[in-house]
Subunit: 550 residues, 2 copies
């Protein structure tokens, strides 16, 4: 059974929407990568391979008792729709029709009580549970891994999509885990409020997923990462509920919020989150700047942030990303040509595009823009006006659609992110780019690697890499693994974090010991052992496989 | 052996400094409280009751091996100096000469390796360990509680007082746990940097203590609470070291920083912290404002904070605290009288004093002051210029000295703090004040209760209460316990946190289950069981006694 708003089972977004990839851009990309003309469509739905549900009759009946029989789905399509997230390996697998791992059923609780009942049944019956929000994980976070359990269900939180409470004076809202981005903004918008959380997955990702994975929105420099917004939280696990009340700050021991935020479904199911909200800004002004080099632009961003002058959105593309963005950009080509001529005349050709997005009231924006512009100019930036900002804003959620079009054309496209301190940022940038290029070059599939700085902090920033290569025909997953491993090793060696906002999931689990040490990993295991003694919650995620490092 | 910079064993601060309590202020306080003329000095050091060290010869020799024999002290004075923190019950106990609980020895490691060795010895020998920074806990956090262990040592981190690294570009500094406030500022000052962390205990409290207790400085509205400053951390426990590298943000699972920050010596010993720092501000401008009522002032503060206009220091006294501050204020009495006349003429007599402290460069301060002043005035505030601000700044670390003088005069004085959302703040204020007044009124010792709002957050603020009453002669601890219990029950009932920055320690442990639930408490126990399987680390703190709620 297909649900309203469900994505393509094999790719991103609305099945009715066909992503547009300009033929000229495709052909120049092919040329650059040495990628042969080749296409490979996903297999038809009817050819997807999926086994019989292995859920026992007794477990099935108990789960129906927990959520109501109409809210347990074990038809083929529901199971396929919950068989994978939206990472590159997920898409490779799904496009080829490999859904043998699909959950044995999907259950849709409507309340925390029903989640408690489902977990009780699953703990008693030995059924693994994969919490499922928007299913947008790009790190294998919702991959159904049985890990010794005979059966596995997907716990879809889509029915827990209520805005329970708005506290206008304290600028807090209590939100259900199943609310998707547009639903959040619509519900809060009725009170003149916004969460200000706009990750690229905004259209599908959910509150529970954001909180469980430490999501960052594109305006996080201004609004904060999701963990900075979580004031109160409810989570349930087989050991019982944990309620962390909404207080602005506390010294009452360790902050368990931060143990549950980012717990990726392994320590509990988030059933409610009280998040900081803000008044909807009167205006948004997104504008473009250009720098002669990436380090120069990064230095300007550091000053912006450390002088308290950073806007809500701050994003700096390296030279390659700037070039690609210009190539792919839709819009008025006459204006674009005029813009290029201006940039060239001023000596900034081949430079790095920055987007600054200010939100607020007119006078506040004017004041903050003036402050930021002084810093940008004295650091070597050239203002390009609002046209590049508007273009970026129009396309801000498009990349995942484009990825499907590239995969149709057998072009590998993957993204990964890290964060590091300002003093080490350019070394981190160089090391990761080089590692990806080297790994793919060695396989005979030279890569195009691009990067942007975004999500600024006083102590550093995140780096977001995208890379492209000709897809290997039968060994696409090995090819991906080689690039991913090389990049993550390089990140660790250069002092970055293994993930800034995509989470650990399956893909980064092997590196967690190098992020937090073995005592740290065992500490999370001890917490899991307490909260989920039979280990039913999202097996195989976050924690590395025992006995090895993944 | 007395150490350089050691405090009075029976009270606060430099033994050579005699706190000044104006006779007129004392007599009007006595009158207000119905407190009889009575004085009680602390017993002389020679009369303090302390038993023989119960450390076994073998354990003592091993500990000497770990830190060097000159760094293990078990003389009478060293043990007495580590026998208590600086909470009201601690002072009552120490002034009466009751140091039977004193640690059996004090060890002074110089490095993380030595801390590891000490913990190894203590785990093997079954010796309890109380980590000791400045010894300024006001919640029983360093009370030597044996909890079944035959022997107990105090682990004084005073020798681990190095500034290991400054990263000027990333505005980070790696600090040893034993650095006291003035040492931190002096060391950072050499690089033109400041931590901006100025709690009332600044002169004695340490980096490790701040991190272990979620400390808040008086300028935390601008600089953040200590947990907002911790970017990297090292901690050791019997299970081994945990190193959390300094990255500006991460999505690599649960944030273990937030499990170790606030762990109060129960989960490990903090051996190093990488903290966010800032350039030393060019100027500080602290100024006074007055409001006709406490709710009116609080509403102004909410607007300041939510509109991004709050200064580094923001503090609003209620009517009683304002009156007492004026009574106790030193300084030019002519100017004070003139100020009072002005306030009276404008209809603000009996109002509430606010302090706003701006730090930065001259133009930034001017711009921010103008913004804040617009909000303050339109919310009903009257500007009083810099005189009250300077007076507050001069006296900002004085209150604990004054407490000793009041105790000499048999006047009970205690402080406690909470935090709540803006929408519930005035109800929380009323409930806590009423609970304290009622509890002490019932004992025949009517209280004077005063409060200030400080430490602003978008979602709420902290409330800091001080209260005074005639001290009961033989039942001072029961009297204190009655007031403390009533206040904490009221806090929980009104939705506040049991502590905003004093930590849990011994005094709040019984209420922890009502703060984070029994599953939450057991989760911390599970973490402790993993990190400290024999339970040697700071027994009896943070976690409630098992079997009951404290």
């Amino acid at each position: 059974m297909s649900e309203p708003g469900a994505m393509k089972w094999w790719g991103w977004g609305d099945p009715a929407r066909t992503p547009h990839l300009a033929p000229r851009a495709l052909s120049s990309l092919r040329q650059l990568l040495g990628a042969p003309e080749r296409r490979a469509e996903p297999v038809p739905l009817g050819e997807v391979r999926i086994g019989e549900s292995r859920l026992s009759k007794r477990a099935r009946a108990s789960l129906e008792g927990a959520v109501g029989s109409q809210h347990l789905h074990d038809d083929r399509e529901s199971r396929i729709l919950h068989a994978a997230g939206k990472g590159y390996p997920d898409l490779i697998r799904m496009r080829s029709g490999a859904a043998e791992n699909a959950p044995d059923a999907v259950v849709y609780p409507a309340s925390e009580e029903e989640v408690v009942s489902v977990l009780g049944v699953c703990a008693a019956e030995g059924v693994a549970v994969v919490p499922f929000g928007g299913g947008t994980s790009v790190v294998g976070g919702v991959e159904p891994i049985r890990d010794g359990f005979e059966a596995l269900v997907s716990l879809d939180l889509g029915r827990m999509a209520q805005l329970s409470r708005v506290d206008r004076r304290s600028l807090l809202a209590e939100l259900g885990p199943g609310l998707r981005g547009p639903q959040v903004e619509e519900a809060l918008g009725r009170s003149g409020l916004t969460l200000g959380h706009f990750p690229q997955s905004f259209e599908y990702a959910t509150v529970g997923g954001w909180v469980a994975t430490r999501s960052a929105g594109q305006a996080s420099t201004g609004y904060g990462k999701i963990e900075e917004m979580v004031v109160g939280l409810r989570s349930v696990s087989p050991a019982g509920p944990v309620e962390l009340k909404a207080v602005p700050a506390s010294a009452a021991g360790p902050d368990l919020r931060e143990l549950l935020v980012g717990s990726e479904g392994v320590l509990g199911v988030i059933t409610s989150a009280t998040l900081r909200v803000r008044p909807v800004p009167d205006q948004r002004r997104y504008e473009g700047w250009i720098f002669k080099s990436f380090p120069e632009g990064a230095e300007a961003f550091r000053q912006l942030e450390q002088e308290g002058a950073a806007p809500e959105v701050a994003r700096l593309s390296d030279e390659v990303e700037t070039l690609v963005a210009l190539q792919l950009a839709a819009g008025n080509s006459v204006g674009r040509r005029a813009g290029r001529a201006y940039v060239k005349a001023r000596g900034y050709e081949g430079g790095c595009l920055a987007i600054l997005g200010f939100e607020g009231d007119a006078s506040g924006i004017a004041r903050r823009r003036a402050h930021a512009a002084r810093i940008m100019r004295s650091a070597g930036g050239l203002g390009l006006g609002t046209r590049p900002g508007r273009a970026w804003e129009r396309g801000r959620f498009d990349a995942p659609y484009l990825r499907d079009a590239l995969l149709d054309n057998c072009i590998m496209v993957e993204t990964l992110e890290t964060a590091g301190t300002w003093s080490g940022l350019m070394d981190l940038y160089a090391a990761v780019g080089q590692a990806i290029r080297k790994a793919l070059e060695e396989r005979g599939t030279p890569a195009l690697v691009m990067c942007h700085v975004s999500h600024l902090y006083r102590s550093g920033a995140s780096l977001y890499f995208s890379f492209f290569a000709a897809q290997e025909q039968d060994t696409a997953l090995e090819q991906w693994r080689a690039a991913k491993s090389a990049a993550t090793d390089a990140i660790v060696a250069a002092g970055g974090t293994i993930t800034h906002h995509h989470a650990v999931g399956r893909d980064h689990a092997a590196w967690l010991p190098r992020e937090i040490g073995t005592v740290g990993v065992d500490l999370i295991r001890a917490a899991k052992q307490h909260l989920d003694p039979t280990g039913i919650l999202n097996p195989g995620k976050l924690l590395p496989d025992e006995g090895g490092e993944g």
